[in-house]
Assembly symmetry: C2
Homo-oligomer: 198 residues x 2
């Protein structure tokens, strides 16, 4: 390959990567607004100046697009949690919730998709089932460590507290999205965590 | 009107009422499975042996059908709550959650629709915003009475506890629908309420 050709290939590759990222950002908005079932590939394609055929050149199907949206969001969230342990980990979760109040579009994405995905034939059903199991495990582990460290009261059932902590965060998102001036997500979470303290 | 004609009119009215009820039951199933945006009038009509035009003879639009589904469910739930006060009211909520474990289709209906309805242009957006405000008011009132009766600890902020109690129930439904053998909704709720006690 000549230098000229190599440059051209690299340039086109970079453009492809940028377009993929643009499509993913647009898909987040459309799925958050209309859900996966209600949102159309056409709407996403229109939003980034492509035809549907052009979009399918970057992602092989609507399902694949959904899967990549979810994977990317999850990686970003997990990175933010870092490698804190015990009570410090639990506190980093409240930081995450505080951060979420600045990104209502993403909160809406999860609220809409997790609601839809309870249907067994939904393409993200397996993703959400696995995700909740993983997060329950993480939370229960952190609470157990915090209990051993004397940061969580001895009487607390850590498995139940893990389920409830995650449920509380999910439910708060729904009320917050409907009524942002009334519902204080980080405040309610702190209140809940305060009652777990030793 | 002759007796014969009157009988015919009454018979046709009764059939109309029965058909309406059948359509509503079918709409619950379709909206629970596919959401409001993903579920189609055609699918509902097919399920009750009607054409779409035939269905629209009973309900003027898909939106009206959704509104009646939600109104009917809400009335049934409120009836079950009865007129208990204070801590007895809060306990009747855990009875409702226990009852919910026997009607997964209805739980799915609420999980799917409330997730969708966070979008401002969703036809049930106003319904859910109003419903949450009403339920928060009911819960905060019952918790305040329970606190005055000495059933809830003096340090509990009843407004925050009301938001959290409702959020917990909503979030538990998502996890339960995805993993029924693992997630114990009434157990997690009892655990939460136990920590509010005086």
């Amino acid at each position: 390959m000549t230098d000229e050709n190599a440059r051209r290939v690299r340039g086109s590759y970079r453009k492809g990567v940028a377009k993929r990222a643009e499509i993913l950002r647009r898909a987040v908005v459309v799925f958050a607004d209309s859900g996966y079932r209600g949102g159309s590939l056409k709407e996403i394609a229109d939003g980034v100046g492509l035809t549907q055929a052009g979009l399918l050149h970057h992602f092989s199907s609507k399902e694949q697009l959904l899967a990549e949206v979810l994977d990317e969001r999850d990686s970003a969230d997990l990175e933010r949690l870092g490698d804190a342990q015990g009570w410090a980990f639990i506190q980093s979760v409240t930081d995450q919730v505080r951060h979420n109040t600045t990104v209502p579009g993403l909160v809406r994405l999860y609220a809409t998709l997790s609601g839809e995905a309870v249907a067994e034939d939904h393409p993200a059903h397996g993703f959400f089932t696995g995700r909740y199991r993983r997060i329950r495990g993480l939370m229960a582990g952190a609470l157990r460590t915090a209990q051993a460290d004397g940061d969580v009261a001895a009487g607390v059932d850590v498995e139940t507290a893990a389920v409830s902590l995650i449920a509380l965060m999910d439910g708060l998102q729904i009320q917050w999205l409907l009524d942002r001036d009334t519902v204080d997500m980080p405040g309610a979470l702190d209140d809940f965590l305060g009652r777990l303290r030793a």
